[in-house]
Each structure stands twice: as C-alpha cells, then as structure tokens.
Symmetry: D2
Subunit: 331 residues, 4 copies
C-alpha cells in the first residue's frame, strides 16, 4: 500500500536480468560493449541520430545537460515549481557555476511561450542583468501534466527565435508518452537534450541523457567525469537503459503505473487538484482525512496543508489502487 514515490518501487525483472548479463568483466567506464550500444539503441527509439550518456540520477542528468547550454554568467528559464528549482538542493547553481534560474508561472507546473516571454522580455540586454540562455521544461510536469506536441513546438519556436537552448526533464517522460499515446520522438519534440527517466520507471541506478545535438554530448562527456558521474562499472547502467528501450519496457511500465494512477482517481475525481495525465495523483485531503488513510496503511506525502500526493509505480497493484480510491471516496 505504498504510494509514496515511484522512487521507492522495485526494479523490473527484465532490468535485473540485463544487469546480471552484464556481470562478466568488460572494459571499465563507458568503454564496454553495452555503453557503446546506447547511441544506436536510442537513435532507433527516436528515429534520428542521438548521443546518449548514462548517469546515476535525474539531478545529474538535468544539470549536466543544462551545463552544456548555459555559461556561468547566464540563466535558465524554468517553472517556479520545477524540480531543478525546488528539489535538487541547489544542483543547478553548482553545475552551472552560479548561473541563475529564472522562474516562470504556468498552470499545472507547465510553461507556455507567454509565461516565458513574461520572464525574459523585461530583461534589458545589458550586463547588469543576467541574460537567459536556455529553457527547461518537464515532461510530465511536477503535477503530472503532459505537454502536447504543439505545446512543445511553440516553446521550441520561441527558444529558437531567441537563441535559447531547450532542455526537457523527462524523469517521467515515459508516463507522458504513454498517456498521450505518442512515440518517444513525438513526446520529446524538438528539444536539444532530454533527461530520459529510468529509475522511477523500473530501473535501479541509471538515467539517460539524450542529446539531439551531439556537440552538447561532447562537452558533457568531460563534465560527467568532472562531476564524479563516470562510473567505472558503467556497463550496469547501460544495461538498465538498454533493457528499457530495446523492447517496449519503458512504455509498458509507464502504462502500468498510469493505469494504477487512474484506478486511484476513478472514485476520487471531485477531489483532484490536477487532471491525472501520468502516474501522480494530487488530492485534496485535510489533515484528519490523511490521518484516516495512514491509519489504514497507505503511504504518501503531504502536499501543503490540505492535500496529498499519491504516486503509482510500474509495480503498483491495481486492486490496491482502486481500494485507495474507494477509501478516499468513503472519507
């Protein structure tokens, strides 16, 4: 009855199997056969040439990708509630050497061109003010909302017209793609780099950074080592990513998690804070109600004073999810 976080879920058996298969000694770092296969595997997935690097965490993926787009004296536009602003312990400040996060508003923690312009248009082009160099969006957003292709395209147009890089935090990228019924290429749109989530989706210790511009990867290779993220037995990370994308596991797992989230939602629609478009469910619950649910055995995070966040995982039990929805309805 654990709906605390997809971070706490189990590792998928296919991932375990791929890791076991990687055990036999190979070249260290990313010189092994599996790491060498990543570019090809992801190029297949996205239908165009990409370069892919593994790292251990989404924080590292996001910040390394951005570090190749933004000089220390620059800035990154992101949502006021983006993970890079709220939950990474200041990692963007570290990886970008003091560059600035420029906070924009938007319903459901999503950005739109107008909100981005509201942040960057007032910035005078002089040295007294930090200049924007990139935009970062999150697919699915912090509130489990999915960007539609036309929404991404509009932001990408803006980015291009202003000479800004475009990064996508895809910690729950698969959930967005599954919800929208889109291919990986469609769900990513025309971004320059994507943090491709794996750990929350049945992986163990690997996330991918997908570079649609290979010149960025050439910089990040050095930055990855410099940040202590070039693991010496990298084959075990590559194995996880390959297990995810060489079949449809990434989508299958996301569909399962999404289905469990919908199962929670069914009986609890009127309490929803946000439409459920991925595997996160935000529900209005006062402290007493949360107490009741915890008494039954449900685990979840409080979300401010009068709400709670429930996160379904690839291994969530549908029956449990429905029972949770019913328990909420019964409050």
């Amino acid at each position: 009855m654990r709906f605390l976080s997809d971070n706490a879920a189990r590792v998928h058996p296919n991932v375990w199997e791929a890791m076991r298969a990687a055990d036999a000694g190979d070249a260290p770092y990313d010189g092994d056969a599996l790491s060498q296969r990543l570019d090809e595997a992801f190029s297949g997935l996205f239908g165009r040439e990409v370069a892919v690097l593994w790292v251990a965490t989404g924080t590292a993926a996001n910040c390394l990708a951005l570090s190749a787009m933004v000089p220390p004296h620059g800035g990154v536009v992101c949502h006021r509630e983006a993970h890079i602003e709220m939950d990474e312990g200041g990692a963007p400040g570290f990886y970008l050497h003091g560059a600035k996060l420029m906070l924009a508003d938007g319903e459901g923690a999503k950005l739109a061109p107008q909100a981005i312009s509201a942040v960057i248009d007032p910035i005078r082009d002089d040295v007294h003010q930090v200049q924007p160099h990139a935009i970062s969006i999150t697919q699915a957003s912090e509130y489990g909302r999915a960007y539609r292709p036309d929404e991404i395209a509009a932001i990408a147009d803006l980015a291009r017209s202003r000479g800004l890089g475009l990064h996508m935090d895809g910690a729950r990228f698969a959930n967005a793609a599954a919800f929208l019924g889109l291919s990986a290429a469609q769900a990513a749109g025309d971004v320059d780099a994507l943090s491709f989530g794996c750990v929350k989706n049945g992986g163990m210790t690997a996330e991918g950074i997908v570079f649609f511009d290979p010149a960025l990867a050439d910089v990040v290779r050095y930055r990855r080592k410099r940040s202590g993220h070039l693991q010496s037995k990298g084959r075990f990370l590559a194995a996880q990513l390959l297990a995810m994308v060489e079949g449809d596991l990434w989508l299958d797992n996301a569909r399962a998690a999404n289905a469990a989230a919908q199962a929670i939602t069914e009986q609890a629609k009127q309490r929803l804070m946000h439409p459920v478009e991925a595997n996160e469910v935000f529900i209005r619950l006062n402290p007493d109600e949360r107490e009741v649910l915890r008494g039954i055995g449900y685990q979840f995070y409080d979300w401010g004073a009068d709400a709670a966040r429930f996160v379904a995982s690839w291994d969530s039990d549908l029956g449990e999810a429905r029972a949770l929805g019913q328990a909420i309805a019964d409050l």
Copy 2:
C-alpha cells in the same frame, strides 16, 4: 586473462545477493533501512563512531570529503601522481570551487611529512598565495604501496599541528589492510575522512565516505545532493557496502586480489618498478615485449613508454596470474 583494471571485474555473489534482498520497495533516497544501518555497521568495523554516506564513485567520494575541509580559496596537498590530480578530470576544481591542488613528491606515490613540508613551508601566510587547508593521501597509493600506521601517524601529526584536515583516498583501502594484516582502524589511522573503496573490490556502483568527524558528514549530506549523488534507490548502494563489511568480504576479496598480484610477481621480481603491496603490479616491459604478451591474450595498460600495469581482482584466476608471471619471465 584480463588484468586491465579491477574496475572491470565482476560483482561478487554476496553483493548481488544483498542487492536482490534490497529490491522490495522501501523509502527513497537514504531513508531506507539499509542506508540507516550504515553508520552502525562501519562504527563496528572501525571501533569508533563514524558517519557513512554512499556515493557512486571514488571521484565523488574523494571530492565530497575534501569539499567539507577546504574552502574555495584554499588548497589541498597531495602527491603529484595522486588520482585527484591525474585522473579525475578536474573534479577537485569543480567540487572545491576552484581550490588548488598543491603537488608534493614522494617515492611510490606516497607522501611523507618532509615532502609535505617542502610544499607548504615556503607558502607565505599572506593573501597573495593560496593557503593549504587539507592533505590527501592514498591507501594503497597509485603505485600499490601501503602506508604503515606510523607513517600515517606522522602525517596526521603534521596535519594537526598545521590545522589541516586529513583525507585518505581508499579506493584500494582493503588491499592495503589485507597486505599489512591490519584492522580497518589501523589501516586508516587518524584521518578525518576516508573514501572506502568498494567497486574495485567486488562491488558494483557504491563507494563509502567514512567520516570520523561527524560534522563533516553534516556538510557533505547537502553537497552530495547538490552534486546529483543522492540516488533515489539508495538502498541498492547501502546493500553493497553492508555486504562488504558485515562479514569479512572486504578483506577476503582484497586478499584474493593481492594473492593474484603476488602470483604474477613471483617469476617477474627483477622487472618490478615498485614493491607489490596491494593488487597492482608495475613491470618494466618494452613495446615489443608488451606486444608479445598481448598476442598471448593478456590485457593491461601501458605505463609510459617502457612499462605496463597489471591489476588483479577479487575474481582473478590464480593459475592465470601465475601463467602471466611465467610469460613475463619467458620474454
């Protein structure tokens, strides 16, 4: 016939088993039961209260530990051939925000008080010169040499008398302890923080940072997150470290690797560049000789123009090691 690197070795079965046992969902990050057990397990190992944090790599372990001892305007004395100077892609500059590595000499890549003094004594105590704030030594050294307890004590005395922190890079700490027949406490001596190697010693993706001064750990907890090293399924890293130290696996594996290194050495003594006190063997070999060995199927790194480095692992085959020694003798 792989003697390229202990980085490329397999993961020990006990480690696999401990990781499998950690699969069942638990709290994310380091809130899980295994991560919570680390302090106690390592306090037992070292016979005094320590605080322990897992990270993915030795580079991260070294640099995070040092970052708590050295302000951005300070310096760290280390050997001219130390890993932090030679092989971490500039990570100390990143993690220490531009602090300076101050390079000392010493036989076998080991430091001694005199060599340290030769570096720091000429530094005027004024703002024009970077002031030292810490010393970093490597156990076993880059050339597989082990510090004896009295050698560490002499350096620790110097550090204390100058108000410097003392860090030990223990990527091959177990090998040194095994070679010298010392307890963990003896092999570490009176350092402030130790990077406790696990990956090269049969682990997969976890290294430990052992803080003998818990105030340092309180800083590094924030820095670990900030550097993207707080993994969300941290229980799998904790499991690896616990598997290493809750039995004698860390020593058993190191003994096996050391024995294989000695087996290589037996027939090749006269070509040794350094006494073999851990699992690395540096042997004088000209290019033609190296070619011959590679033709047989041995894998290893060149070490400059006229030598080679062979590294034995916990899973090295003793017979293969002896055969390698014989092949060298036969050249």
Copy 3:
C-alpha cells in the same frame, strides 16, 4: 540638469585632496599607512571595534561580505528587487559559488520579519532544498526607503534566532542615516557586515566593507585578493574612505543629496510612488510627460512604463532640483 544617477556625480574636493596627499609612494596593496588606519577610523565612527576592507564596487562589497557567511550549498534571503538580485549581473552566483538568492516581498523594497519567515519557514530541513544561511537588507532600500532601528533590530533578532548571518547593502547608507538623523551605529544596527557606500556619495573608486565580526574579515581578505579586488595602489582607495569618515563628509554629502531630492519632491508630492527618505525620487510620469521633461534637458531613467527615477547627488543644484519639481507640477 542631470538626475540620472549619483553614480555619475563628481568627486568631492576633499576626496580629491586626500587622494593627492596619498600620491607619495608607499607600500603596495593594503600595507600602506592609510589602509592601515581604516579599522581605527571606522571603529571610531561606529563606536565599536570593526575591521574594514576597501574594494572598488558595491557589487564586490556585497558579494564578498556574503561569501563569508554563506556556503556554496546555502542561500541568502533578500528582497525580490534587491540590487544583488536585479542589478549585479549574477555576481552573487559567482562569489557564492552557486548559492541561491531567496526572494522575499515587502513594501518599498524593504524586508520585515514576517516576509522573511514566509520565505524560510516552508523550507524543509532536508537536503533536497537549499537552506538559508544569511539575510541581506538594503539601507536605504532600492526605493529610497530607510530602515528604522527597531525594524533592523527585529530582523536581526530573527536572523540570530535562526542562525543566519545579516548583511546590509549600504550603497546609500549615508542617505538613510542623514534622513533619520541617526549615528552610523544606529543606522547599521546589529548587522554582521555592512557595505559602506562611498562612490555614490562623492567618492571615486572606493567602497568599504565594514565587518562587525572580525572573523568574517579574515576570510574576506583572501577572497578579495582571489577576486582581483586587492588593488596594488590601495592607498588611493583608503584615502577616499578616510576623507569620508574622518570628518562628517559622508553625512554632509548625503544631507545635500537628500535636500535636493526633497526639493524635487516639494511640488510633485501627489505623483510620488514612494515616500522620499533618501536621494531617490520615483515619480509617476507617462511617456509623453517624460518626453516633455527630456525636452527641457532633464536626464533620468524610466522606471517601467509609467514612472521615472530621479536621483540627486551631493553636487546637485538645489535650484535645478526645485525647477525640476516645478516642471513636473506644470505637466
């Protein structure tokens, strides 16, 4: 008819004279007799032991002071419109190595305990969120508003109770003290460090950092050199600061500037955006009206779409100031 900025004003004759007197060669950097006299002179001014360092700019003064209070993984609470957030080109990110500015609201660009608490109270004490380490306030504020002693005391109490450092940006400190009729000690209150403005107040190239906690100065001495702000002919900077404080020049100049600001205001009271408590006057003026004033020859900055900022200096002509007020009244 220049009311663009006190940054553009002339250098006061006393300052020139003091600089000329400093010409005769002396020890370089801050080893000269004048630099050595700063601590004593400012200790006299503030009625307690202080350590004082000269630097070239307010940006350097602010950021160096904060760099001694805030670790790279920490944060600084400041007003959303503070100079460090809006006008220093990202210098806090540089000097604090990526630490975060935490933006609070407050009328007239002033902070109050409640507004600070609104920012820091929701921050969970865990590693996922940046923790505050200091508060920075501006005396007089960006809108020319002066903190009263009880207001500073309330903020200082909050800072102390939360273990936060307290910094005061005093680019127009003298104007606030002059307006309130306070001593330097009263106008600073119980802050840990003060950026003591001189350039806008009749100086040329020197600002002072006043440390009420000498341990902070000991760190900043190194950071000043490291940031390229230890000038080799520092005696010329020390001379400027001494000229300001060894008489009452700092107050006399501020009084003159304040009087000119009041002279502008007299006829234009109904258009004021903020009470005038220093030398800045913010006046509601639409683009046509601004055009008219510029046609007459007045120089000033636009302040958003429908306002303008006029800044008086120590050398502003009172008659011109009154004429400007009249011109505004005549619109």
Copy 4:
C-alpha cells in the same frame, strides 16, 4: 630609495590631469565618453581593430581574459612561476570555475614551444584528464625577460595548431616593448588577448584588457560586471588608459623605469641572476649583504635565501639607482 615595487610608485602627472578632466559628471559605468573612446585609441596603438575593457587590477585582467577562452573543465598552460600561479591568491580557480593551471618550465620564467609540448603532449585525449584550452605567457616575464617577436610567433603557431587560446599577461608590457624597441603590435604579437599594464607604469587604478578577437570581449563584458569590476565611475579608469596611450606616455614611463634598472645593474653585473630586460633586477645577495643595504635605507624584497629583487619605476631617481648599484659593488 624605494625599489620595493613599481606597484608603490607615484601616479604620473599626466594621469592625474586626465583624471581631473574626467571629473565633470558623465554617464555611469562604461557609458561615458572616455570609456567609449578606448577601442579607437587602442586600435590606433595596435594598428588593428581591438576591443578594450578597463578593470582595476592585473589579476582581474588576466583571469577575465582567460575566462573567455577556457571552459570550467579545461586547463591553461603557464609557467611554473607565472603570476597567475604564484601570486593571485587562486584567482584563476575562481574566475575559471575550477579550471586547471598546467605548469611548464622555462628559463627566466619564459615559455617556449618545447616546454609547452612537454606539458600537453602526454595528456591523453580522454575525459579522465583535464584538456588544455589556452596558453598564458608574460611579457615581460616574472624575471623581467622580454619575449622576442619570433618567440611569440612560435608559441602562437603552436597554440593555433592545437586549437588553444593565447593570452599575454602584460603587467610590464611597456617595459618589454621599450627594451626591445618594438611597437605595441610587435611586442604583443599574435595573441588573442593582452592584459595591458598601467598601474605599475604610472597609472593609479586602471588596467586594460585588449581583445584582438572581439568575440572574447563580448563575453568578458558580462563577466566583468559579474565579478564586481564594472565600476560606476569608470570614466576615471578610462582616463588613465587614454593618458597612457594617446601620447607615448606608456613608452616614456617604461623607458625611464628601464633606464633606472640599467643604472642599478651597471656596477652589479656579476651578481645578476637574470639579464635585465625590463625594470626588475634580481641580484645575488646573502642575508648579511641585504642587511647592509637596508641599513643604508634601500627598500626591496628578499628573493629566496640568497637574492633580492629591486624594481625601478617611472619615477625612480637615476642617481639613486646608480648609487644603489655602487653600494652593491662595494659590498
């Protein structure tokens, strides 16, 4: 009888005069008429289009210039005794965000292609080692040695062939040009950026950064502000630089200083540690001998255990200089 440092010398009357003329209020920062004239004045001096920024110190000039050539994960080759390595309090680590100084050897603190190659050739092009991105040389060197045009050309060729930037620290650039009888263009050669010294040569608080590649200046404009080096009364810095180069003052002052250095040398040739090619004189003197000279009233720095450094300035008295040489000869 002051030969301690040209840093301690007086400000030249022409510089004073230019500064006085700049007093009348003008636009703040670098919007004033004098700052706007810099590019043209220096383009005239160098006979090609250059962009010039003023800063307060040579440390800031050097580090800002390099920061536009070297990414945080890169390195700069410089001499082991270069000012950026020895005397800037770690400023390169700060301004380059942890990039690495790569130390090369060379007689008289000068670099040559072979010495540079000895440092960079062994660096494997992989992510474990920091890669060089620039070379920094000093004209005249730390030991007062001047690079000849062919020497600079050889280094520039190497730099270009390796894709490295080339920076020249010209704290005593004028002294080198004067000694060699070269134009500014010849003394700089084909570098990308030059720190053009002014303070040691009769200036007060201004150094110039001359960018032969204007794209570098466009980056440094932002970095200058971000480092707190955009002074608000910048016209006083511009005035100093213009006074230096709009006549031949920069050369005249350097010739005077050089002549005084030669005057010291005449009688003391056999004790010279280095040929005197600028305004610094390094002389072998044991502690007793130094005591004698100090007893007479001479001021200078010890240089290690058995030598001393005497620096002549534009305002050194030739008679005093000769008398010093005689006093040394008399020892």
